[in-house]
């Protein structure tokens, strides 16, 4: 608990300051404060407090059933369509930002994965890992998510292929940071 408070001290100060501001606004009928509270803060909060716990349960379940390590074990130097699908799956199950994938790209190179597949792997981060997809659908709707996926997968697989070819042509190697 103490560690939690310490780690989040900035955020918690913001929350407390806002709490005081909110109480002041309500008590003295400070119009801008009430507007911020009602029109923005409460409207946003309502939606998220219901949505988020549900989404995080999904994320947790996903975490215990499909691990990054499991998929990585199967990749190695798989080539062809199977190789492409495997690297895409790896990106799909991996959480975290794109730059967290750079060290993984290095490991894949060491395991013998082709440059094209490595860059397709990086490009596949556009798909949003499964947990984040929950957020996307929750906040932007299923139609948005489906459309975005259908449109971005071909575009970004192509970008991965172009970058990978270019990388090979210039005899690039991935460095270990």
């Amino acid at each position: 608990m103490k560690g939690y408070l310490k780690k989040n001290r900035f955020d918690i100060s913001v929350i407390i300051a806002f709490g005081i501001f909110a109480a002041y606004s309500l008590f003295f009928h400070f119009r801008p404060g009430i507007d911020i509270l009602q029109k923005n803060f409460w409207a946003f909060l309502k939606e998220m407090l219901f949505a988020l716990p549900v989404m995080f349960i999904l994320i947790g379940l996903f975490d215990v059933w499909v691990s990054k390590e499991k998929v990585q074990k199967h990749i190695g130097d798989s080539s062809g369509v199977k190789g492409v699908l495997l690297v895409m799956l790896l990106a799909f199950v991996q959480v975290g930002p794109l730059y967290a994938a750079f060290p993984v790209a290095y490991i894949l190179q060491k395991k013998g994965t082709s440059s094209v597949n490595i860059f397709i792997y990086l490009s596949s981060f556009t798909m949003a890992k499964v947990p984040m997809l929950t957020f996307e659908i929750g906040f932007l709707g299923l139609k948005f998510s489906v459309l975005r996926l259908i449109l971005s997968v071909p575009v970004f697989v192509l970008i991965g292929m172009i970058t990978g070819r270019y990388f090979d042509k210039h005899k690039g190697t991935i460095n270990e940071d």
């Binding site: 379940l61 215990v64 730059y99 556009t126 970008i159």
Partner: protein, 159 residues
């Protein structure tokens, strides 16, 4: 939102039937992550609430709305390329922007560059792949995001 709730309930039940312990562990991990991001999320909602009060819908629309035309896509692309935001903040924020009237296609550009173009992380990326390849990957991804957004706009408007 309803889909997500139904999906979660169904999957939780299925998961529970297969493996009770694993399911409980998963729910626990998820809740722990939720509690961990809660303070950040709350303070981000507070800051967004305040900022959006001062930036009127009119100003927002001038840069990201229909009136900005293609410029809206560029603004969104640059915003996403420069920003470093985790998804659990970016998606609620995007939801808020959509409610304020920003189109889904513009949001698609923002989300895509946010994920795929890392202006701030170019120094890290170039250590791994070299500067040339890094710049190329980022530039192509920037263009790719615009293509995705514009294609989405065409589909949403004409179908």
């Amino acid at each position: 939102m309803l889909y997500v709730i139904i999906l979660t309930i169904v999957l939780t039940i299925v998961s529970f039937i297969f493996d009770k312990d694993k399911t409980l562990k998963g729910i626990k991990t998820g809740m722990k992550q939720f509690v961990n991001i809660l303070p950040t999320l709350l303070s981000v909602i507070i800051l967004i609430s305040i900022v959006l009060y001062f930036i009127s819908d009119k100003v927002l629309m001038e840069y990201l709305g229909a009136g900005a035309g293609l410029g809206a896509y560029f603004s969104a692309a640059i915003l996403g390329a420069v920003a470093i935001l985790p998804g659990f903040i970016a998606y609620p924020l995007s939801g808020i922007l959509v409610q304020s009237g920003v189109s889904l296609a513009v949001i698609a550009v923002f989300i895509t560059t946010l994920k795929m173009v890392g202006f701030m992380t170019i120094p890290i990326e170039q250590k791994y792949f070299g500067l040339k390849v890094t710049l190329m990957r980022n530039a192509l991804s920037f263009v790719g995001a615009l293509i995705v957004g514009i294609a989405m706009a065409l589909i949403l408007n004409y179908f």
